[in-house]
Symmetry: C2
């Protein structure tokens, strides 16, 4: 191991989650306790803040464990986020952008760079580590994954997924109760986040594995959606019981590649003359109302899926914190141009446990992990027990924020 | 006090809430511990179940405190619900319907009748108590209020409101965090339940009273909505900061009485030929997108507002339980044709406390309590501190369900 002394900088990027601050807390905790790292800086709004030199020193904020605990339980990106991708080598702004970064690095003596984000953020890590090594500036560049979508390769699951899955599966239990109180025939369609991968929608079915209520039909974007089969399935269930609950991914597509939510775009305009993009749940609500003429409601779970810190998964928050700390250890030991991963460490019949590792970021960036074929049933309207057994440990345990006067107390820089 | 001995029956009616089962638990607890009441029956699906004689004996389910605690923390109506209004005297089915009820009452020797519900349910209580007293069947008929909308007269607030307000105010804190992470100009419109009364939308602003983030604009149905003023307000805020969050009631109307959500109905049809009813949030999203051309998102909080037991208000759950018990005491002491009420018992400078009482149901049924004028600011885009001080104690304390394997454990009959 070659020792590298200097300062560290950390940033957050991409869509917020309920766990991205737990990872930030982990990185800060690791860096504050490192014998090689002196100061820990934060870039505000990710790489945008680095380029604009809106960098703050974090050391003073973390003088006791309370600050870490509060940050761990705070939703969204406490340092702010951005959606910028760094320019490619062929881009006119390439040299200028990276030279600016090196200038800032030198100004703050940055030798450790941690970037917490999704797929696009891993692209940033890959480009930055390539440039710095080519230009001979010594810095260890590590990506720490986060995404509620669980669609990154290389890691068993992503930090942030467990808390989103927890919110969705708990809320689904409540919705299943709510929709069951009347005897009048009704269909409820619950739209869940996930444009490409159906992991979050799959998590809505967890109840079944535990002998609890669960949605009657579950459709993932990994399988083409067939409207006729959908109606057939609904009618069959309505013949047995009055209330049907359907979980659908926002990214559901027909076999011809059209999005289900696009169905309602076809020339439809509202009173203001806007084209109308319904969303998958709304489109199916209208379709069912039209076809079956019964009471239908659609529920889009929306933003709370990614920010509901009030019912985060304890497993997820602890792992998210742990993988942040592990990122610092890995960098101390010489790792660079790597993404941190979480690996499942138990045999099938053992209690869940995990370890942290890291892998070459080029194997991961800009690629998507889909729900595999054998996790979806043959008809494509449920996930399998194996899929649910994979998800279940990730929603274990409840992590609650501290409350004061009835509202949660969140961390602010 | 005239002593009446016999059995009791309890039912739930109207839309579910996170607290209606706490009231059910209170009624059962009161009746099980009454020296005048022997058996406690439950009607399944409210008055529908009474008429259909789908009545279950509840005594066996409540042999220890654990059952009560679990029921208190279970969302939606555990006995099932209905939306039936009993026929009026002028109705052809009047005599037949009420004679059927008396027949069932005699079959089970029902001398105590408790009905937990909203406005329509209080109408049922009023009609039933009138009929029974006229026909000389001795039974004490008590209504126990529940509605997340807080729109019943006579009571300081309604059981169920505090938990819905808690979910909304906590979720609003999270959404305010989530929407603040980017520097790009954006508007987020959060649609909150409340067709006639804006109490729930008002609760989204609670953060302001505590020095926490709060929505930039808050619109209640009690005030006519002016689109031009809305755009002016948004532009003014966007000039100061990039992210604007707006809270709107679903029942928002223009001065001419049209619903804001109706705006998108005007002849608009989608690809399937459906008329499109957008909802208030979606309508405003499209309007802002059109007028200002910036990033806009609408979030309809939807069903979780009324069933999110995972973050119920402790104040609400305890009061909802207490008012159920108090209903039994009131009936034991001779009250009938009354609705239970909660009265605030503290002076303005003292900590919150409440007492239970009851009042003539005819003064309450079929009427609506609106947010008063002085609770809304002059421009109609915020609520006042006085309004927030009224709401704040009702969201105090957190009531969590028990969890097993990551999911809540709910009560089932």
């Amino acid at each position: 191991m070659s020792i590298l002394r200097g300062n560290a900088i950390v940033g957050q990027s991409g869509g917020p989650t309920a766990a991205i601050n737990a990872t930030l807390a982990g990185v800060i905790h690791g860096a504050m306790n490192s014998e090689y790292i002196d100061k820990v800086y934060g870039m505000q709004n990710g790489i945008d803040g680095l380029l604009a030199d809106t960098v703050i020193c974090l050391n003073d904020y973390f003088t006791d464990e309370t600050s870490y605990e509060r940050l761990k339980r705070t939703p969204a990106a406490a340092l702010g986020s951005c959606r910028r991708k760094l320019p490619a080598e062929t881009d006119a702004k390439y040299k200028q952008t990276f030279e600016k970064i090196i200038e800032i690095f030198k100004k703050y003596d940055i030798r450790y760079f941690f970037y917490i984000g999704g797929n696009d953020s891993m692209d940033t890590v890959a480009k930055l580590s390539k440039y710095t090594s080519e230009c001979g500036y010594e810095v260890r560049v590590i990506g720490v994954p986060k995404t509620i979508d669980n669609d990154l390769l290389g890691t068993d699951h992503t930090p942030g997924f467990g808390s989103a899955a927890k919110y969705i599966s708990v809320t689904m239990q409540e919705i299943l109760r709510d929709t069951a109180v009347y005897t009048v025939k009704a269909v409820t369609i619950v739209e869940i986040m996930g444009r490409d991968a159906g992991w979050l929608t799959a998590s809505s079915e967890i109840g079944r594995l535990l002998g609890l209520p669960s949605p009657d039909l579950v459709y993932l974007p990994e399988r083409a959606f067939d409207m006729d089969e959908f109606f057939t399935d609904i009618k069959k269930i309505l013949a047995e019981k009055p209330n049907v609950v359907v979980a659908v991914s926002e990214g559901l597509q027909f076999a011809d590649g059209r999005f289900v939510g696009e169905g309602t775009q076809g020339g439809a305009v509202d009173a203001f003359g806007h084209k109308y993009l319904a969303g998958t749940g709304k489109a199916l609500e209208l379709a069912v109302k039209d076809k079956l003429g019964i009471k239908v409601r659609s529920v889009e779970l929306n933003l709370p899926q990614r920010c509901a810190s009030h019912i985060a998964s304890l497993c997820d928050i602890e792992e998210s914190f742990g993988v942040g700390k592990a990122a610092v250890s890995a960098a101390e030991q010489g790792a660079s141009r790597e993404m941190m991963v979480i690996l499942r460490d138990n045999d099938a019949d053992e209690p869940y446990s995990s370890v942290f590792g890291h892998m070459d970021i080029d194997l991961i960036a800009n690629r998507t992990k889909f729900v595999p074929k054998h996790f979806i049933n043959e008809r494509g309207n449920h996930v399998t027990d194996e899929c649910l057994r994979y998800i279940l440990p990730l929603i274990e345990g409840e992590c609650y924020p501290e409350y004061k006067n009835g509202l949660p107390v969140f961390f602010s820089f």
